[in-house]
Each structure stands twice: as structure tokens, then as C-alpha cells.
Amino acid sequence: MPLTPERLQDAYRQMLIIRKFEETIRSLYQQGKIRGSFHPCVGQEATAVGGCWALRKDDYLTCTYRGHGQAIAKGLNLQAAMAEMLGKETGCSKGKGGSMHFTDPSVGLLGANAIVAGGVPHAAGAALASQLQKKDNVAIAYFGEGAVNQGVFLESLNLAVIWKLPLILVCENNLYSEMSPSHETTSVVETYKRAAGFGFEAMQVDGNDIEAVYNAVEQAAARARAGGGPTYIEAMTYRLWGHMMGDPEIYRTKEEVAKAKENEPIVRCGKRLIELGCTDADLSRLDGEAEAIIAAALQFAESSSAPQPADAFTDVFI
């Protein structure tokens, strides 16, 4: 299904929902209502929505601690996501998993992962299952460019190619791994070239252009469904906020961030919609809709109860 102008409006609203979700969490965090770590995906909404919207609900997804956007774009219930952030019993993981472990298999979300590259082989495994069962669903794994130096990542690249798995790997290259510029830690910093070396169909796309991401993933999915094997998409993007709350961001300049803001995906998608005939009023209507959806999710989460201590001891085994 192509990303028609009508659907692009919905996708724009979806990106706004994700942005506002993260903004809300930041404010909750600042009020001391959220424990643990929070790794915002602000600036990376196009990779999430472009990629996940090019797939079906029964396709599989694994992502990372920075994966709120992908989880939501794949269909994770927003109220359950917000409640999870607040550690409530109505959260998608009943308060057990938190920010870094959003999971909902009913929408194909096999889990966000807090171990760098930890989820990549899981997506490969889901792809293998689909292949073994002669189904046509595919698996997509999102990860940052820092993951490409992990052993399990490189081992999985090889497996995916020799087994011709229906797998799509999306590297969100936001130039930094925590506080390190990735060119200082990575031998071939254009990571898609590594994947090509392993035999992947591999490409680099503008990760802040939602249509470019969508088209790349849609083609990769079609290829994978037809038995054509795995694809590697390196989506160039930028993390507009720090690695996590409290990051002093000494590793980059304010000018660099300001410049990146001009190229950020929501602004760009808005411009594109105007080109396609939308009005400013249309855009603010979409913004208002997103706002209301987030407000409802927050209301739901805040009025939910904390889990009972005894709930800590359930869910270990089936």
C-alpha cells in the first residue's frame, strides 16, 4: 500500500503522537514520576513510522531502549505504553518491564531490548519461523549504529544471509553511541557497507524523510515475502535530545543541534504535506488530534493503580 497523501497525513499525526509522548515523559521524569532510564527518540520519528507503517500487523518487530516510537508505530496501545512508563498495573508489561522493554506480541512487537544488539537475533529467529512455516510475514529489527560492533550482531548478519531470512534490518544511524561520535568507534562508519560485505541487499536512506524510509522498507518487505532474503537499510537521522535524561551533551555543539532541527522529520513532513495541498489549518488540526490522544493516555495512566507487591511474583513461567 503506497503512502498516499491521505495516509501521509495520518503518518504525520502518528509522528506527532510519538513526539508528544516523549515530551510528556520528559516532563513526568522532571516531576520525579518516572523511575529508571528514559532514552528519547525525538528526531527519529520518521524511521519509526516510515518503517513500521510499511509493514503488516502480523509482521514482527524488535527494537531497542530507544524504541518507543517504533513500538507505538507498530500499534502498541498508547495508554498501556504511558501506564508502563508510570509503573502502573495497566502498563503493557504490568509495570515489570518499564521504558526499555515495551512488548506486545498482538501487534507483532516481540520486545524492545536494553542490551545493545540483543534483539537483532530475535528478529532473525522470528523470520526463520516464518520461513519454516511457509508464511509470508517478515521481521524487522531496529538498532542504533553502535550495535554494529557487537559480536551477536555480526553473527546474525551472517546467519540471515546464508539462511536467506525474510528479515529487514534498520540501522538508525544518529551519529552517536551514547556520548561517543560513532566515527571514532566504528571501522566502516557507513554501516550498510558492512552489511553489503556480508551479502545483504544494503542501502543508505535519508532517515528524516518518511517517504524514503517507507519506500525502502516496503520494497524490502516485498522482496523478503517473495523469498528474496534479507535487506539492510541504514537510515541516517539525528537524536535531537540527549542519549538519556541528564546527558550533559558535552560531545556536540548547540549549533550542530540547531542545524539538525532544520532537517527534523516532522517539520519536513509538514512541508511536504503543504506541497501536496494541505493547509496550515490542516496541520494544526492534526496536531490538536495528537495532543488529545496523548492527554487521554496520560489521564488513563495517572488514574491507574500501581501493581500490588504480590504481582512481582507472577509471570516468571507460563
Binding site: M100, Q150, E178
Partner: protein, 323 residues
């Protein structure tokens, strides 16, 4: 004496050892200009340069292994794992390699390497960022395991660990870094394998270490108000275990509680209790007890995490049940 944080004490130990021993160098993620997520390596790059304060890719298995290789040929690497949980990514290098190479070579090579990592919960960091691994590392012959609870011990033990000449797993706790304490000026070290009595008492021996040691001291205060005087032993080193200090204390008190944040199941509590029964079968006048994390992964929500990890009140309750 200077009053500094646990993180600053570690920083001093690294700085002082790097100054006097050019073989000492550091590796880890974001330890250079950033100074480490928990600031333990703060400013060291300015003094010692990027060669000796070396940022690594996110490749734990490789950089721990590189540490082993450098150690085998005479350097003294101190390798930082950002979270102890990531030790599992490097588990082969730690368990199959570092712990055994000296033995398998008939003593012809040695691995003077320290692997530092912070561990533990209490901050809602979730099941993959809150674990405590000392128990199963202690199961591996060939590893020394250290887990200080105070800034002074942290500094003195890190120095001893760097000088030890053997592989040392140096365990820090994420919620200890900002705790302040008095640290002696100048060069001093705390011996590996030596526990310390952090509070004298005649009624019960509480053995602990790392963050739960502070909980034990807190509980001891509450217990004192109720007329129970607890002796609190800080193990400081997990492997080798200082059984003498424990046995001496238990001989006086006749009661024993072991407290740790690591899971209770098959844990250090069981080990210590077994050794006390083996080595001094008649000293205990009450069945001993142990307290550790309950047998589930560490959850995020506060109500859940508090139910899983031992709390000061749990220590008080456990002790009272023994009287």
C-alpha cells in the same frame, strides 16, 4: 582524611595507580572525555591521554579479551563494564579465558587484569540493568571478587586489585557512587580477602557487603532501640571469603543472618551458612537465616522492585524472628 564520594574515591585510586605504574591503563565505553556514565574516570584522560584512557566500541567480549591479551604480556588493564549485566556479553572471556589461563598453562602466564562494573537495583532500571552477579562469578575458580561498601574501602581495595596480579572482578553499586565517606590521605590499601566489623554487637552477627551493608547498619540502629545489639560484618571481598572473621563473631553472638542483594537462591548466604555449620557446628544457638532478592527478574515499578529486593525493614524483621 578527606570526605569524598565513592565515585571520587575510585577515581583517586585509578589516578594514583596510573601515576606510579605506567603499565596501568583503562578501557571502557565513554570513559574518556565523558569521564564515564557514573563519572568514575572523570578527567583522567586529561592527565594520562587517550592511549591510557581508552574509549571502546560497544564490544564487551572483544575489549575484555583484549585486556586479557595485554595483561598476559605485562600490562595492567582496568576494564570497565558499564553495567554488570553486560558481563554476560563478555562471559566467555571472563569465565573460559581470564579465570583459567593461568591454571591451564601450569602457572606460566598470569592475567593481572581488573574488570570493574557497577551492579544492583533500586533505581527502576529494569531486569537487564539491575542484576547482581557476584554469586555465580564466585562459583568460578580463578576469579577474585571484591565488593566494597564505603569510599575508603573502594579506594583501598581498587588499589589492591590493580596490584593483585590476578584477574579481579571489582563490583561497584550504582546507588553507592554518591555516598560520601572519610578517605585517608595518601597511599594506602585495603587487603583483599579481609572482612571488617563495621559495628560491634553481642546478640547477632549480620554479614553483608556492598549496598545492603548500609541497610544492615541502618537496621542495626533500629534493632538497638529494641534492645538487640547486632554485630555487622562487611565482607568487602567475596572470593576468597574471610571465614575467620565470621566464625569469630558467630562464636560470640550465636546467631547469624546473611544479607545480599543478589538472588537468594543458591547464593552466598547459603554458602556462608554451610561453611559455618561445617567449620563450627556448635556455635549457632538459633537456625541461621539469609536474605537476598526473591527469585524473579528485577521489575521496574517501585512497588514491585521493593518487594523483590531486600529492604532495611526486612532485615529488622528477619532478626526479630530469631529472638
Amino acid at each position: 582524611m578527606s570526605n569524598i564520594t565513592y565515585a571520587q574515591a575510585l577515581n583517586e585510586a585509578l589516578r594514583e595507580e596510573m601515576k606510579v605504574d605506567s603499565r596501568v591503563f583503562l578501557m571502557g565505553e565513554d570513559i574518556g572525555h565523558h569521564g564515564g556514565i557514573f563519572r568514575v574516570t572523570k578527567d583522567l584522560i586529561d592527565e594520562f591521554g587517550a592511549d591510557r584512557v581508552r574509549d571502546t566500541p560497544i564490544s564487551e567480549s572483544s575489549f575484555v579479551g583484549v585486556g586479557i591479551g595485554a595483561a598476559m604480556v605485562g600490562l595492567r588493564p582496568v576494564v570497565e563494564l558499564l553495567f554488570m549485566d553486560f558481563a554476560l556479553v563478555a562471559a566467555d572471556q571472563i569465565v573460559n579465558q581470564a579465570a583459567k589461563l593461568r591454571y591451564m598453562s601450569g602457572g606460566t602466564v598470569s592475567i593481572p587484569m581488573v574488570v570493574r562494573a557497577q551492579q544492583g537495583g533500586g533505581r527502576g532500571n529494569g531486569a537487564q540493568h539491575s542484576q547482581s552477579f557476584e554469586t555465580w562469578l564466585a562459583q568460578i575458580p580463578g576469579l577474585i571478587i571484591v565488593a566494597p561498601s564505603t569510599p575508603a574501602d573502594a579506594k583501598g581495595l581498587l588499589k589492591s586489585s590493580i596490584r593483585a596480579g590476578n584477574p579481579v572482578i571489582f563490583i561497584e553499586h550504582k546507588l553507592l557512587y554518591n555516598i560520601k565517606g572519610d578517605v585517608p590521605e595518601g597511599d594506602y590499601s585495603i587487603p583483599i580477602g579481609k572482612a571488617e566489623i563495621k559495628r560491634d554487637g553481642r546478640d547477632i552477627t549480620i554479614v553483608s557487603y556492598s549496598r545492603t551493608l548500609l541497610f544492615a547498619l541502618e537496621a542495626a540502629k533500629t534493632l538497638a532501640q529494641k534492645g538487640i545489639e547486632a554485630e555487622v560484618i562487611d565482607l568487602r571481598t567475596i572470593e576468597p571469603l574471610d571465614m575467620n572473621t565470621i566464625l569469630e563473631s558467630v562464636k560470640g553472638t550465636g546467631r547469624l543472618l546473611v544479607v545480599h542483594e543478589a538472588h537468594s537462591n543458591c547464593g552466598l548466604g547459603a554458602e556462608i551458612i554451610a561453611r559455618v555449620y561445617e567449620q563450627a557446628p556448635d556455635t549457632l544457638i538459633m537456625p541461621p537465616r539469609r536474605l537476598g532478592a526473591k527469585h524473579v527478574p528485577i521489575p521496574v515499578a517501585e512497588s514491585l522492585e521493593d518487594a523483590v529486593l531486600p529492604q532495611p525493614a526486612d532485615i529488622v524483621n528477619a532478626v526479630e524472628a530469631m529472638f
